[in-house]
Symmetry: C2
Subunit: 960 residues, 2 copies
């Protein structure tokens, strides 16, 4: 007997790291039918970086900025939960919790298991952070949620899987996010911030609880509740060390005895709140930012109130108890007597008062937003490569994935953190880039080398400013492209080089048509650019295989440049010109106005494009009317965008066999490059902008406005939701409530992550513009789409960040560069395909080589496909990543057309897994939910059918 | 066996309230001979009121003023101590600890017993507060220390009796305080604040530790150490929620890893500190004001440092450990190899920088300081009465004693708390007054009533502004005087009455000589005075018995006033007068200057008196030189006191059989009243002053300067130490160090609580002035004594209180009234006797009666003595109070002459207890130490001998 007991003990010790936890059946407090059940939910809202960096928040350094130390929160909360099993707490951000967990002794970890089991410590959301919903891509959202939930699953097992999620601080709520949550198995979604007019109406109509139809294609729905006081406690009832509220004194002998009066106050608040909700359950969110560092103060005072009110107000049938979001959600659901109102649109834009439209952050920090998209693509490619080669997670991947997850936080990608914090995000992403650069180098060599010789593959992160050491300093060199798409794809390659001429040889030894184009002066002069490159070598990589690698050999030819090596001669046209300038190439033609140099026509259609700016409102924020435009808030001074001070000075045209460019020179800091590509149906438009001038003391917000006056859209336009399903927008209108848009410009901006379009219902003609990073967009004029591309502001908007969004680099205002792709074809499907190509452009690496093209072909494979065949054209390989160290691979297939979007591509798609992956031998296939923390079933077939917008998540067990 | 076990358990439960605690023999950490032993002492300095009231500090309300909640300190420290037996904490102020203790469950109390036993929670000082040393009377100091130590003794038994005391915040240190501590059995005294020049010299001479000869008469001594950094932690190592210092990160994987660098910093500090101390032991005081509310942050970071440094610096022979003041003191004592330097004077005045002499607080809030003296006397009388009647403590007594103890705090009686806090102190004392007023009423009736009929005895707290409801509205009425002195004493009684005439009949039915004097106009006009009284009825109460009660019957006579009822006729002399004004009465004569009205001569001796003022320095405190005069700091603008704007306008003389007054009218707000009393050898001088004018934007500090130009004192003068032993002061000189007095006026002020004098060594002639409340005094001019009497300032002095000391009442600047007694006799003993009479003046109560004097004598005893005989004239009955509910009585006898002060009275005094107390039957007499928490012996004799300045403390067991 003794031996058995001892073994048993050992077992439970060993199992601690695994999923041994079970959730107590009475984890939720009993509610009473005839009582008003008041769910008291202690919580701390811990920003994954904002005024301080993530690590500063964790350790509590840099406290002069903000008194916050998450390490103490978990230390002290655990003590409190351990002492009293009635107490509850909510943990949300796994970045912080996992950091703390790592530092704990096994003794403490056992205690944590216990309080999780008992339902005292409830994980809510459980993502790595509480991601932003406007400017984060669905790819990154799914990843960051999966990462957090995987940590929970690995640590506590299924019992800890959250049923509730609360997005209590993001500044507006997207439909796609709700759909993702539903697909991840969340049952209850709670929101902190919704438009003040919407909230007021919901309060008076009893519509604070609703059922959200989160996907038109999938029919997902999720119970959604709007919190009463954002996420804060009743005013006056904040007992954190960070609050100054009057503590509860229940000693009747004390001259400060106040529990009688204080309870009366709280009960009045409770009764008022309960008027606005549908059942006899209400929630009191007892916490604020970085609360419960010293949990005892909170709990001690709450204990007194709960005890006193339950006793004194028993006859008033009021009952207070500690609870959690999931317990509250469940109690509400159980108590509902009639159907909930339904919600079909989203919660954008968010206004907190008549002059505070939170639409500036859609664009704030455009270069950072650009970086986050770049690293998103790079991370996916890195995961793919690791999945099909080493089939294990690496530290590099873990670090990069963590950095990318952190960057999705609602003060990160939003551009609303302090500058030093944003720098920290960038450093983290840069580490990820460097790490994956090494992964690429190693894996590509592994996949390509025929004789064991290796190349030093450089990933050039600075291609966007035409800078790359390897290509500038070497000849010959190798360019290797990796196509992260699961179907064949072509790409126009642009490589920074010094002057001279280059021969490009492909994988089959053929000389490829190329052209040399001088780098635009505005790029050469970009502050911080450190490059000798003066030209770009351009060629076309045709038909890159799915998940495929292909190398090109580039060298300065001996003797004269060959016929296929064109040196493009720029031709400059001073403005104003005698007549409009017409440029035609590859079957497309663009017309530019002879006076202004603006694009005015594409083919036969009138399509105008122009950069304009809004002067920003300055203000001291002392009253609503004095709100300044800032990191969060967009508030132009006036309603009309102004033209730049002077029109374009000249146009430069550069014709070539691959690409034809029209460069529009506006001033030293500002230019646009229109590009036509052979065999492409879109116009690429690069904008280069900044430093934004502020010498006049006025902040400015720049837009790029596209107008197709013949499209009669009647104020309607369409934007994507986190890069997936589309939503219809209507000027000065909200679908579910009557709105008075008190900021006629800012109040009509919406987030766009992938593309937006306007459409003429009668002619079905459409103008689609794709964007390369999150931006704000509106359609204020008929047939127009205006994207906000850059902002520089001189005032804080008084929502906490405490800094004006006045980004500088190298001592001057920040310059930014970005792209829009203007769809020309009228096919409704083309935007979907282009969006995939924009988000998942090929990864380029460069290596010097001493070998000739011919010699190189003998030492290296120059093309490898990691998929044996293309996926169907409407299916995206959303995820391919190593899931653990045992060869399990996480795969997500995504149907990226919505119901009815396209006659052909909106049909269900069918995939066969059999022999799909070139390097993977699949043992079993388990289907799991979207966040991969709940099993669905073991698949007994190779065939997989995807409905429109469906994502199916699989865990492949593989062997080599 | 089982039964026994159960009984045993019950026993230990029952015993919890008693003294079952023992102190672990290894309560102190082991020190190492070859190591530098670094005693890390976690502590919180909890002001018993300062910026917030005591209760606000305890509960943590009003946190916008200061984030402080002592309840959480004890909550969270206990948790930490309980989890780790290495950890220590220091508890100092019993006001807070006892409050917390009262609120704890028996479960928590058991834990506390345990951590006390283990030496983890050490009580240091253990008084009710950390009393001020400049402005508190020894009577109140002994009481407040006794109260705290009694609580500890009752709660934890002897094991918790502190051996160490630290006065870490008071602004200078008195010799009497050190002597009291020594007499209370303290072994180690640590000081936070000493003069910056003194400290610098001690640092360089290795004299931070010393032996303090604390009493010239008693030869007491106490080990005294000066702390290195006041009471704060090494700069940069403050880990409280209230600090912003960089937390310790010991995770080498963290980008914020810093323990290596941070340890280096701390070790450098430790090595520097150790240079200035005599042994291989140093103390790091790890705490500040109201720290450890959330103890975990402090301990977590200290834990990391201790662990890391002990490991990494082991070879450098540095060892850190948690310790306590007594463990540190013991370690130092054990490690000392040579005799300590000795200290014989005190630590006044305290300067923290060249322009910050903390001598303003000696006088700040003069009316509050006056109240504290008034309540001190009242409380002693109240205790006496309860001791000899009910022989039990009452709630009234407990409340009053607590209020009086709180008032001794170093931001209370000092006048350096915020106004709202000072109001709280006053409310508490007022409750005490009201409570004891009831006690007097009840006890006097009990003692005096012959037939069971009772009087409603009113205690008139406002006699100082000549206001008393009973005497104004009734005739006849009874005046009852209680003499709290242990010897016969006479008193001039002044009673506010409306116009008319009154017959005063004494206890033996004799008509007593009385006079009616009009109340001075400046008094009648005092803001807030609410009285119909226009006159004062004055008569002489001769030879009140020791601890004796005597009643007088007062009524408006029918018919004409009798011969013994004089109506004094004021005579006004306009100034300037033709000649000097000479006033003679009862053998004394005063001469006033015909121009200025100033006193210029007493008898044949030139003695001048004048009110003057110092204009206060205004400043923004941004640098030492810009320091403003404030609540703490006295900093005149210039060195010379200025005369009042205009001299006196007139003198009024009022002659009478009992008292003769000379009223010096200066302006509406300012006057002085010189009083000669029949059969008295002193001149009473009332000053009435305020609102102090500030219309010129300049704060002002008023002094009353007495000058006897014939006394050649050579810059020497004498002041009492907390009202007991005298100290010699020398202008611009300190006994133990060479001083550069950079503020020639403020730097020569010293506290005076009882009296000061100047003396001519050759002629032995002396001028003595007694004061009725704590004040600052100096002797800047030959033969002079100047008392600062009132201050009104317009700037804060930037030592934390954050308010200018600009007291107002009834919408105008505060008016104050006080007295000095100017000794005329040259006898060296007279001041001692007068001081006793001033501190322990009779308590007056008033009752309306319908009875005639004769009828009254039949119903009431009109004289009762509670002592059966006088004590010897040099012995004071310092304490007589109920000690518990079992009839035990605490008694202290005090010899109030120092060695060599007087030929006769400095001789030892002998007392017999036998039959001394009229109402007490004494069973046993136990002698205890001064604080009554350590027994000395059971006395087997009735005779008690007191050496000069000796206090003997007894606990009498009595029965009825």
């Amino acid at each position: 007997m003794h031996v058995v007991t001892i073994l048993c003990l050992v077992c439970s010790w060993i199992k601690l790291g695994e999923s041994v936890c079970y959730r107590s059946p009475n984890a939720c407090p009993q509610t009473e039918k005839d009582f008003l059940n008041v769910h008291i939910v202690p919580h701390s809202h811990d920003d994954v970086g904002w005024l301080k960096t993530v690590e500063q928040y964790y350790y509590g350094t840099n406290n002069s900025i903000q008194n916050a130390a998450v390490q103490y929160t978990y230390d002290s909360v655990l003590e409190e939960l351990w002492k009293d099993s009635e107490k509850k707490f909510v943990s949300v951000e796994m970045e912080f919790f996992s950091h703390w967990w790592k530092e704990q002794t096994s003794h403490v970890k056992r205690k944590v298991h216990k309080v999780v089991e008992r339902g005292q410590l409830e994980f809510v959301g459980g993502g790595w952070c509480m991601n932003d919903e406007a400017t984060a891509s669905y790819v990154d959202i799914i990843d960051q949620m999966t990462m957090g939930l995987k940590f929970l699953n690995d640590t506590f097992g299924e019992c800890a899987a959250p049923k509730a999620v609360w997005q209590i601080d993001p500044f507006g709520h997207s439909k796609e996010q709700a759909s993702i949550f539903a697909q991840m198995g969340f049952e209850y979604l709670f929101l902190g911030r919704i438009d003040y007019q919407d909230k007021a109406l919901r309060m008076s109509n009893g519509e604070m609880e609703m059922m959200w139809d989160a996907s038109d294609s999938l029919g997902t729905e999720i119970f959604t509740g709007v919190l009463y006081n954002t996420y804060g406690p009743p005013p006056g009832f904040c007992f954190d060390v960070l609050c100054g509220d009057e503590t509860i004194v229940d000693d009747p002998d004390s001259p400060m005895f106040n529990i009688d009066r204080r309870s009366k106050q709280l009960v009045a608040y409770i009764l008022e709140q309960s008027k606005h909700y549908r059942t006899n359950n209400i929630i009191l969110t007892m916490g604020e930012d970085f609360h419960y560092q010293y949990a005892h103060a909170w709990y001690k005072n709450l204990d007194k109130l709960i005890k006193y009110i339950n006793k004194v107000y028993f006859n008033s049938q009021i009952r207070l108890f500690y609870s959690t979001p999931s317990c509250y959600g469940q109690a509400v659901k159980n108590a509902l007597v009639e159907a909930l109102p339904r919600k079909t649109d989203d919660f954008f834009p968010y206004a907190s008062d008549p002059h505070a439209y939170w639409t500036g952050y859609f664009t704030s920090r455009p270069t950072f937003k650009g970086l986050v998209r770049q690293t998103s693509n790079l991370l996916q490619a890195c995961k793919q490569i690791q999945a099909v080669t080493v089939r294990r997670r690496s530290n590099v991947l873990n670090q990069f994935q963590r950095s990318q997850a952190i960057a999705q936080h609602h003060d990160a990608v939003t551009g609303t953190a302090k500058q030093h914090v944003n720098n920290d995000y960038i450093v983290r992403l840069d580490q990820g880039i460097r790490g994956c650069s090494g992964v690429f180098s190693e894996s590509f060599n592994h996949l390509l080398s025929l004789n064991g010789s290796t190349l030093n593959q450089e990933y050039c992160a600075m291609l966007n400013i035409s800078q790359c050491q390897t290509t500038e300093q070497n000849s010959p060199f190798i360019v290797t492209l990796y196509n992260p798409l699961a179907f064949r794809s072509s790409h126009t390659v642009r490589i920074p080089v010094t002057d001279g001429s280059y021969a490009v040889t492909d994988h089959e030894g053929r000389l490829v048509a190329s052209q040399m184009v001088p780098i635009a002066e505005a790029v050469l002069l970009l502050p911080g650019r450190n490059s000798n490159a003066t030209n770009e070598l351009i060629f076309r990589a045709e038909d890159l295989p799915p998940l495929g690698l292909r190398s090109y050999h580039v060298k300065t030819p001996e003797g004269k440049p060959g016929k296929r090596m064109l040196r493009s001669r720029p031709r400059t046209i001073q403005l104003p010109n005698k007549e409009d300038i017409l440029v035609s190439a590859y079957g497309l033609s663009l017309k530019f106005d002879r006076q202004t140099g603006h694009l005015v026509q594409i083919g036969n259609e009138s399509v105008q494009q122009q950069l304009l700016f809004y002067p920003a409102m300055a203000g001291n924020n002392s009253r609503f009317e004095f709100r300044a435009s800032g990191a969060y808030i967009f508030r132009p001074n006036g309603t009309d965008a102004l033209p730049l001070e002077q029109p374009a000075t000249k146009l430069t045209t550069i014709f070539g066999p691959v690409t034809t460019e029209i460069r529009q020179h506006i001033n030293t800091n500002t230019m646009q490059i229109f590009r036509l590509h052979r065999d492409e149906s879109f116009i690429e438009l690069d904008w280069i902008l900044g430093p934004i001038p502020i010498e006049d003391g006025i902040g400015k917000e720049y837009i790029s406005r596209f107008t197709a006056p013949e499209i009669r859209n009647n104020g309607t336009f369409f934007t994507d939701s986190n890069g997936r399903e589309m939503l219809q927008r209507q000027l000065n209108h909200r679908l579910t409530y009557k709105v008075n848009v008190t900021e006629p410009t800012a109040g009509n901006f919406y987030p766009v992550n992938s593309f937006a379009y306007v459409e003429d219902k009668s002619t079905r003609s459409r103008m689609t513009v794709l964007n390369d990073r999150a931006q704000g967009v509106s359609s204020l004029l008929p047939g127009s789409l205006e994207f906000m591309i850059h902002r520089r502001l001189l005032h804080d908007d008084a929502f906490g960040v405490g800094e004006a969004l006045n980004e500088t680099a190298y001592g001057v205002g920040l310059a930014a560069r970005g792209s829009h792709w203007l769809g020309v074809e009228n096919s409704r499907s083309v935007a979907r395909f282009l969006a995939q190509r924009m988000a998942r452009s090929p990864i380029l690496t460069f290596s010097p080589t001493a070998l000739s093209a011919e010699e190189f072909r003998k030492s290296y494979r120059m093309e490898v496909a990691l998929l044996n065949r293309d996926l169907p054209p409407n299916v995206n390989l959303l995820t391919l990543e190593p899931w653990d160290d045992q060869g399990r691979i996480l795969v997500r297939f995504e149907h990226f057309f919505g119901v009815g979007e396209d006659e052909q591509f909106s049909q269900p798609a069918s995939i066969s897994l059999k022999g799909l992956f070139a390097t993977l031998n699949i043992w079993t296939v388990e289907e799991v939910n979207l966040s991969s923390n709940r099993p669905i079933k073991i698949l007994d077939t190779d065939e997989l059918v995807l409905k429109p917008m469906e994502i199916r998540t699989l865990i492949l067990s593989t062997y080599q």
